[in-house]
């Protein structure tokens, strides 16, 4: 299958500038996204992302200088709610799926989520 509008651009890019996503960039993105990536995966991702962004590069063929970025596909005003309290009064409902809960001295679960100590 042929990638639309691609062959000439790809050739040109390879001759001039290929946007390379290197390993350091991958590690930086992974850090931002809080995803642990292994050494070998870093290598693979660098290659894959380079290819993907190389392919995406074709968008630069389009002059969009005077185009407004889309804000929404639905042509409507944003709906709003009235200021009423009718939700959220059930701690167990939001805590029942928690993978970890603190407990009191008797072992009863406390109404908190818990994470490893945040050092501040």
């Amino acid at each position: 299958m042929h990638i639309p509008g691609d062959s000439f651009r790809r050739l040109k890019n390879h001759l001039t500038r290929v946007k390379v996503v290197d390993k350091a960039t991958v590690l930086n993105i992974a850090k931002l996204a809080r995803i642990k990536v292994s050494e070998s995966e870093t290598e693979n991702l660098a290659g894959e992302l380079t290819n993907i962004f190389d392919w995406i590069e074709q968008l630069n063929e389009v002059n969009t200088d005077n185009v407004e970025p889309m804000t929404s596909v639905v042509a409507m005003a944003m709906p709003s709610r009235t200021d009423e309290v009718n939700d959220g009064a059930d701690a167990e409902r939001v805590l029942q799926n928690a993978p970890d809960r603190p407990a009191d001295a008797q072992g009863n679960p406390l109404a908190f989520y818990v994470v490893p100590k945040v050092v501040e």
């Binding site: 944003m78 709610r81 939700d87 701690a91 818990v114 945040v118």
Partner: protein, 485 residues
């Protein structure tokens, strides 16, 4: 008057900008229908939306939009009819969605101004913007040695972030700015300004520069200061710290710092400076906020009288001194209290009594005006008794004392204790005659031209009447009797 830090190399100027987070007064949260009340049991005011359960979506609370617009109008700011909610992406356990819904490129309120009453005169401080955003939950670090507990009650509560221009030049100005902003929002009913409960928090951006330098130098940000006093103290410490760094030949590092109120110091929050990249983008779960001018005008028409206008009216209509008027309007309850007392007919007297006598009593016990042991009604009656010469100002203090400690209607107290001013000239004349008769030496001294003796005569009469004589009347009668005689 200018606040400058004296250094070995010369004088330094402080440049301050404040970012204030003000909790919007609303029953429910910004994007969910959970309650916003302070002090609830942990996680008892958390909807599925606030806990960021899969598939949950935000729907905006219309009152929060109104409140933001109302606040913008109160700051004489530009209301943007089109504004956009964006996601500010970062990971933190008290941020369940992994992003905060906030406004970034297009906030709901643009530039405005807050006028400060400084001792050296009024100062206009620019407001850069006001935007709406969600509050985060609360991390409790002290419940367990190894773990942090998370309470999401605050998660999703509506905030206004109000960003000033870097126009403030002293800790005092920063403090006054905070108080004025708080007063305006309390007048508007958009934020209760309660700093202990966290409904008003301040981040201060501080830099210093040698006097005369035009460029801004590197600033540090002191985060989450929770009292006006600490805002001022933190800025003062931080400015001096920065001056010392420069004078020692160093340079200030752009960083986030925290203020330790116990030590009176600021300290660097992060050991390693992690890269912040919030990846803002318009929230695709929401649409832009598009307001009509009509909507804005309606809110504008419903705005209450704000401190500046009220102050002007107190000066113009009541003849209250400018400084006193500024003091009275600093919070709405005091201004309302004053207006009620002023009904008594003598506004200047009312102002004096509130500022001098009542404030002394309130300050002694750290009470707010709402908790005043003397109601505005009773104080108004007291002022009325002074104004119509029923009692003297001197006696009024005694009556006030009784009102504070025991309570009661001032007229009744005057009646019960027989404190009514003696306004019968005949009675006082008789007393003066007797005094002249019994004290020929003093009378002679007076006639020899020693007018200082008048005071002695007045004192004797007042003593004899238990202070109930009208001092002016006593003076006039004395003059008549001694001068003519």
């Amino acid at each position: 008057m200018t606040y400058l830090i004296e250094g070995e190399t010369g004088d330094w100027e402080v440049v301050i900008g404040l970012e204030v987070h003000a909790q919007i007064i609303s029953k429910a949260k910004l994007f969910s229908s959970a309650a916003t009340e302070f002090g609830a049991e942990p996680n008892s005011q958390v909807s599925l939306v606030d806990a960021a359960m899969p598939g949950m979506l935000p729907v905006i609370n219309e009152v929060c939009i109104e409140q933001a617009v109302r606040t913008g109008l109160g700051l004489n700011a530009k209301i943007n009819l089109h504004s956009v909610f964006e996601r500010k992406n970062y990971f933190y356990p008290d941020l369940p969605q992994g992003y905060q819904i906030s406004q970034f490129l297009e906030p709901i309120v643009g530039e405005g101004v807050i006028t400060l009453d400084m001792p050296e005169g009024p100062r206009d401080i620019g407001v850069e913007r006001l935007h709406m955003e969600q509050d985060a939950g609360k991390s409790l670090h002290d419940q367990d040695p190894k773990r942090t507990f998370i309470d999401l009650n605050r998660s999703g509560v509506a905030l206004m972030e109000i960003v000033s221009k870097p126009d403030l030049r002293s800790p005092a100005e920063a403090g006054t700015y905070m108080r004025k902003l708080r007063a305006i929002m309390r007048y508007l009913g958009t934020c209760d300004g309660n700093m202990e409960q966290g409904s008003l928090r301040c981040d201060a951006n501080v830099s210093v520069r040698p006097v005369g330098e035009k460029e801004l130098r590197t600033r540090t940000e002191i985060k989450n200061i929770n009292s006006v006093r600490f805002v001022m103290a933190a800025i003062e410490y931080e400015a001096e710290r920065q001056v010392k760094i420069y004078e020692d030949g160093g340079s200030v590092v752009q960083e986030t710092r925290l203020y330790d109120a116990n030590k009176g110091e600021t300290w660097n929050m992060r050991s390693k400076e992690e890269a912040h990249d919030y990846r803002y983008f318009p929230d695709p779960d929401l649409l832009p906020v598009d307001l009509t001018q009509e909507f804005v005008d309606e809110i504008k028409a419903s705005l209450p009288e704000l401190p500046d206008a009220k102050k002007q009216r107190f000066v113009n209509d009541f003849g209250v001194a400018v400084d006193d008027a500024a003091t009275l309007v600093a919070d709405k309850e005091t201004a309302d209290y004053f207006e009620a007392v002023a009904e008594s007919g003598n506004a200047k007297l009312a102002a004096n009594w509130i500022i001098q006598e009542l404030f002394a009593v309130l300050n002694k016990d750290s009470l707010g005006i709402a908790e005043s042991p003397v109601s505005s009604d009773d104080l108004g009656k007291l002022v009325g008794l002074i104004a119509d010469n029923t009692i003297s100002g001197r006696i009024a203090k005694d009556v006030f004392e009784v009102m504070v400690t025991e309570g009661g209607d001032p007229a009744q107290i005057v009646e019960n204790k027989g404190l009514k001013q003696i306004t019968d000239t005949g009675e006082i004349e008789a007393m003066i005659d007797a005094l002249i008769n019994d004290n020929p030496d003093q009378t002679q001294q007076y006639r020899d031209g020693n007018t200082k003796v008048t005071g002695w005569f007045v004192g004797q009469i007042m003593k004899a009447t238990g202070g109930k004589a009208n001092p002016q009347m006593v003076n006039e009668l004395l003059k008549k009797k001694l001068g003519l005689g």
